[in-house]
């Protein structure tokens, strides 16, 4: 059956899609961005890595997932001083992605996940997942692929700051497409750090300044320590955790809600 062997959502026809719905496949929406990543990495890093990780998950569990076409543009105005960066307004991003997840839910897929590759999308995909739960009969969760097995893969890294175009992202990119990395251009970079806040939100206070105010390279972290070998090992750790998550999510109960009111609620309220 084609729906069992295919992990790419839009490679199926609509009659085959009926089979995929019956198989209760988990539908994954990768979210990325088109954004500067230093002088050594191309603009497609976030989309390319999120999709590559999801596709690798699909190759290893083709009968359990369908990976949607990735969302190529995200929230990015703070990077706009760097040529090429594409910015989507946060409410436009939420509206667009939520329509995608709601369409998937409409067709009867019970479990949906957003797998993010761009840090600044994080609060938005959190809201998209929550709204999908509240506004459809399906469940939907969200995470950054980079959050899976982080404690483990951080032991492989030599640098301590992991933020943007850093040792981790550069290693993964080297693993997937070495020929596109300009390693001779790689330099390390720090943000402006105080006791409670930093300009790239690495401290306790949430704060993201325009990157054009504090960096000339667009790098936060140390990509000079990156290698393809590290990337391969990081990917294995991430995938081990994503496969385990997939098993957990596939059987996560979607129970009927229980109304605890003594009096009937006002069902006519429109949210």
């Amino acid at each position: 059956m084609r729906a069992r062997e295919t992990y790419l959502y839009n490679r199926l026809t609509w009659p085959e899609m009926n089979d995929a719905i019956e198989l209760e496949k988990v539908v994954i929406l990768p979210t990325g961005s088109t954004e500067q990543h230093g002088r050594h990495l191309p603009l497609d890093v976030d989309l390319f890595l999120a999709e590559s990780v999801c596709h690798e998950l699909g190759r290893r569990a083709p009968d359990k997932v369908l990976v949607l076409p990735g969302i190529p543009y995200g929230l990015n105005m703070h990077h706009l001083d760097f040529p090429g960066t594409i910015h989507i307004q946060p409410e436009h991003f939420i509206d667009f992605c939520l329509d995608v997840t709601k369409s998937v839910a409409y067709h009867g897929f019970k479990r949906i996940a957003l797998v993010n590759g761009h840090g600044s999308n994080q609060p938005l995909i959190d809201l998209i997942a929550r709204r999908t739960v509240l506004e459809t009969p399906s469940i939907c969760c969200a995470f950054g692929y980079f959050a899976m097995g982080r404690d483990e893969y951080e032991r492989l890294l030599e640098s301590t700051v992991h933020a943007h175009a850093d040792e981790m992202e550069t290693s993964l990119y080297l693993h997937f497409a070495k020929e596109r990395v300009r390693m001779d251009q790689a330099v390390s970079g720090d943000d402006r750090v105080g006791r409670y806040m930093s300009s790239d939100s690495t401290k306790v206070v949430r704060f993201n300044d325009f990157w054009g105010r504090w960096t000339r390279t667009g790098v936060h972290g140390d990509p000079t320590k990156a290698s393809a070998e590290k990337g391969k090992r990081i990917l294995e750790i991430i995938l081990t955790h994503m496969l385990a998550w997939l098993e957990e999510y596939r059987v996560w109960p979607v129970e009927a809600r229980q109304d605890q009111h003594r009096q009937p609620v006002q069902r006519e309220v429109r949210w």
């Binding site: 490679r11 603009l43 949607l68 910015h87």
Partner: protein
Amino acid sequence: MNSHGMHETGDEAYFYSNYTWKELRELPAERRVVLLPVGSTEDHGPHLPLDTDNYLAWSVCVETAKRIPDEVLVMPLIPYGYNLHHIDFPGTICVGAEHFINYVADVCKSVAYHGFQRILIVDGHGSNVPLLDVAARRVILETDALCASFIYTNLIKDVCRRIRESAHPGGMAHACELETSLFLYLSERRVRKSEIQKDINLPPSKYIFLDLVDGSPVQMMDWWSSFSKTGVVGDPTLATKEKGRQMFEAVAERMVELVREFRDRPRGPRQDMHAEKVTGLFGLKP
């Protein structure tokens, strides 16, 4: 593999997002035309996959870029469009009209911000057309760039009229002779040939019909499941690889012509014709 699961070598100099920011800042001076492919994820009959619109729009852009690599930049494709009318067919992903316009306009406005002066939105999905028209117009009114949009089939109406064997008009609308021929030419192995069947069941009308090349004088879009059992409107049994080759060649040739014309299109400055100072509404500077 890129966002629609297609393999590209990926290091071509005509892909926008293959550049680093430092490299990209040299490109507006080259006066490149930015191509933004837009499609949909939507049922295309029992014989074509859901990525048909994406795949065809993308292929048109990449073929154009191969022919004039120094004159264009191809953006990552927007893979979802406007198609609630198709939702009864499993898999279709629909984005609301205003959500779609806002998303596309934000992308183009960012491109304009970086100094690119010419943006072409290349559409593969009929129902996106009026929305992309609005998006492109907004980009002109809200930036200093020129932005235009079109569905690629509009470039080869004459060629399609010559080649088509489907009833005319109203016999070639969706997963039809045209789209299936192109798909056969570009990726034959992905077409489920044994599933190909004709389906044209709209009520006969002089004024209201559906056709990718010659649309009806009156616009109306009913729920597709109310008039099609297969998701097809047209006769894909008439499709051939050779027809696809001729259509694709013609699109690519005209895209090159269009890009070159658009790139050199002269443009005068706006002029304020008021006798008195204007008020500065609509976000415009007084």
